[in-house]
């Protein structure tokens, strides 16, 4: 009985951690290129709505998922345009993006509240789902969770071992050196911004297509901000983002289960938990000086030439 509860809780932790994982990976990519995008929350909202709208109108959840990513990248392009083309303040532009994205999603999404759309359902992966314990936790999930398992190592390899990945990191660490080596800082920063927006949009689409199977206003509920926090917790490393995301997924799932079990703890107090945990985790991580892992030129615009 308790074992079953634990396994189902851990499986739920993976599921509710997945949207945060997508968004955190996106923000890592973006910040590695030197661009701070605080608009993740807005990007997730837009991704969630676009994914839902596209799935509802085409009948294909996969198209919906991709549309969520594309619209996330589109919104991130506004940030890129303001910060990379026009050298606007990255902190303020990101905040504006969150305001704009949440507002737009709410405005355009009002007609879709309460509508149905096809989504993703869990299925057991052959063989792997038979592995004791791990199979039930990790391999009885939906397609998008399996895709996220692939993205983590791919991004790890991309950032570490590919030419593009090295150049992207160089644009974030030392733009002057990058320019001296013939690397176009602006191009790689655009790559980070758009790629990050795409992943953030996918995270949002996961929410409406696989998590709630519904569109409602304010769906993302601060998950984008938690993702921004997790980047610091993860020391800008994809594999640590995985851990962090599942930790938060676990707390969210646990909190929901307590509510469903009819505990005497008021729901507003339970709802505080993930946010309080974020503060706790950030303070703990900050104690270990994550600044040393931060891209040196994060948030600093490059002076225009010619």
């Amino acid at each position: 009985m308790t074992e079953n509860f634990a396994i189902s809780l851990l499986a739920a932790a993976v599921q509710s951690g997945t949207p945060i994982l997508y968004a955190t990976l996106g923000e890592i990519l973006c910040e590695k290129s030197g661009v701070l995008n605080l608009g993740v929350e807005g990007i997730m909202m837009i991704g969630a709505l676009a994914g839902f709208m596209a799935a509802a109108s085409t009948g294909s959840p996969l198209l919906g998922f991709l549309a969520g990513g594309a619209c996330g990248a589109l919104l991130a392009a506004v940030h890129g345009w303001v910060c990379l083309s026009f050298r606007g303040n990255q902190v303020v532009s990101g905040l504006a993006l969150t305001i704009l994205g949440s507002g737009l999603a709410d405005y355009l999404g009002t007609p879709f509240v309460g509508r149905q759309a096809p989504g993703f359902d869990p299925f057991a992966l052959p063989l792997l789902s038979r592995v004791p314990l791990l199979g039930d936790i990790f391999f009885n999930q939906d397609l998008l969770v399996y895709i996220s398992y692939l993205i983590v190592p791919l991004m790890w390899i991309f950032l570490r071992n590919t030419r593009w990945g090295l150049s992207l990191r160089c644009a974030g660490e030392n733009p002057d050196a990058a320019v001296a080596n013939g690397i176009s800082v602006t191009a790689y920063r655009w790559m980070g911004t758009l790629g990050g927006g795409f992943l953030g949009g996918l995270g949002g689409a996961y929410l409406s297509l696989a998590y709630t199977h519904l569109w409602s206003n304010g769906l993302s509920a601060g998950r984008g901000w938690i993702a921004v926090a997790l980047v610091i917790f993860a020391f800008w490393r994809p594999e640590r983002a995985l851990m962090g995301a599942y930790l938060f997924g676990g707390v969210m799932a646990f909190q929901l289960r307590l509510q469903a079990a009819g505990t005497s703890i008021p729901s507003s107090i339970l709802l505080m938990l993930p946010y309080a945990l974020t503060i706790f985790v950030i303070v703990l991580a900050s104690w270990r000086r994550p600044q040393s892992a931060m891209p040196t030129s994060l948030g600093v615009n490059v002076e225009p030439t010619e």
């Binding site: 605080l38 807005g42 506004v78 345009w81 303001v82 083309s85 026009f86 050298r87 606007g88 303040n89 902190v91 303020v92 532009s93 905040l95 504006a96 993006l97 969150t98 305001i99 704009l100 994205g101 949440s102 507002g103 737009l104 709410d106 405005y107 009002t110 206003n217 601060g222 901000w225 921004v228 926090a229 610091i232 008021p266 507003s268 107090i269 709802l271 505080m272 946010y275 309080a276 974020t278 503060i279 950030i282 303070v283 900050s286 104690w287 000086r289 600044q291 002076e303 225009p304 030439t305 010619e306």
Partner: protein, 355 residues
């Protein structure tokens, strides 16, 4: 053949330029908003007209905009003080909630005190609660190097759930038919109206504190140090400026000002505490502070304009059934376009013709 541009930093950015950029940015935002209205099948021109009429078109509208400008102005003033030091306080929303909580606690527990004791006590409670909610991220930043953007933002969510917990639970009015709200405050706890209109004396408080902050930032040693540290922390440390103390000061002041906004909103506008007090003023305040380029005098003007936008959108909701989030979109767009436009204030672009 072809044209090339030469971009260089301007030596003396001109006031006129930033004014023109602001106008162009607002114009561009309005055009995009008109397109959004058309997309939903609403008459765009009539919509924008309604927006302006609803915001500034009559005595009633102006008064409503002025009342809504009060909490935005106070929050924005606080945000601007912190931003000057490059401390990114995104937590005005939560500090405002805590101010409202503190003031309400006093109002609900001592309803029979005379107004000239009760209201100052509420103000003090709001100052303490809002100030402490602002100090917490400052301490975490200084002691643990915790990123203040994330901490202040998370504290917003926690503050809102705390307010929910109280009005749904221990503070709920037993005779509210289950609605989440506290009892009405006693008359002594309600900030009085000026004359016969709806304007309350909180406006006077805004004027006084606005002037004081303007003097503080522009003409005192501490105000100068805040700006100097914000521009270059390392240099300021060499000059032995007390960076840590300044961080604590700006965050406490920032939180206290947002707390005052919460106090005035609970006392003068709602006469009780209820979830609808959280209307996103703390986020609008960030937009206002940046549009006003962190200058207290411009903040007054920008707060009034964006408050007008909110009132105008209410009119749009009534007449054309436009969702309230339309106002949020406009705020985001205006801020984005102004940020992008500041490029033309900072940099000079010259066209080079080549044969």
């Amino acid at each position: 053949m072809g044209m090339r541009f030469k971009i260089s930093r301007r030596q003396n950015p001109r006031r006129l330029h930033s004014g023109l950029v602001l106008l162009a940015a607002v114009g561009l935002s309005l055009v995009i908003c008109a397109l959004l209205l058309e997309q939903q099948g609403k008459p765009s021109l009539r919509g924008l007209m309604l927006l302006f009429q609803g915001a500034f078109g009559s005595g009633w509208a102006l008064q409503d905009s002025l009342i809504k400008a009060v909490p935005i102005f106070l929050c924005s003033l606080g945000v601007a003080i912190a931003f000057r030091l490059q401390i990114w306080n995104i937590g005005a929303e939560g500090q405002y909630a805590l101010g409202a909580l503190g003031a309400s606690w006093v109002a609900l527990h001592f309803p029979d005190l005379p107004w000239f004791v009760l209201q100052p006590a509420m103000l003090v409670a709001a100052t303490v609660c809002g100030g402490l909610w602002g100090l917490l991220p400052a301490v975490l930043k200084l002691r643990m190097r915790a990123n203040e953007i994330i901490i202040t933002l998370m504290l917003n969510y926690i503050a809102i759930f705390l307010l929910d917990y109280l009005v749904y639970g221990p503070w709920k009015d037993p005779s509210s038919f289950g609605f989440p709200m506290t009892r009405m405050f006693s008359q002594n706890a309600v900030v009085a109206k000026i004359g016969a209109g709806d304007l309350h004396w909180g406006i006077l408080l805004c004027l006084v504190i606005g002037m004081l902050v303007w003097i503080f930032l522009g003409f005192t040693r501490l105000g100068y140090e805040i700006r100097a540290c914000g521009e270059n922390v390392q240099a300021a440390r060499y000059a032995r400026m007390p960076y840590a103390a300044l961080v604590l000061l700006v965050m406490a002041a920032s939180g206290a000002l947002a707390g005052w906004a919460g106090f005035l909103e609970a006392s003068a506008s709602l006469n009780r505490l209820e979830p609808s007090i959280m209307a996103g003023y703390g986020y609008t305040a960030i937009v206002v502070a940046w549009l006003a380029r962190l200058n207290p005098l411009f903040i007054g003007l920008a707060a009034f304009l964006l408050a007008g936008l909110r009132v105008g959108v209410e009119q749009l909701q009534l007449e054309l059934q436009i969702p309230a989030s339309f106002g949020q979109i406009m705020e985001g767009l205006i801020l984005m376009t102004v940020l992008g436009g500041s490029f033309f204030v900072t940099y000079q672009i010259r066209l080079l013709k080549k044969e």
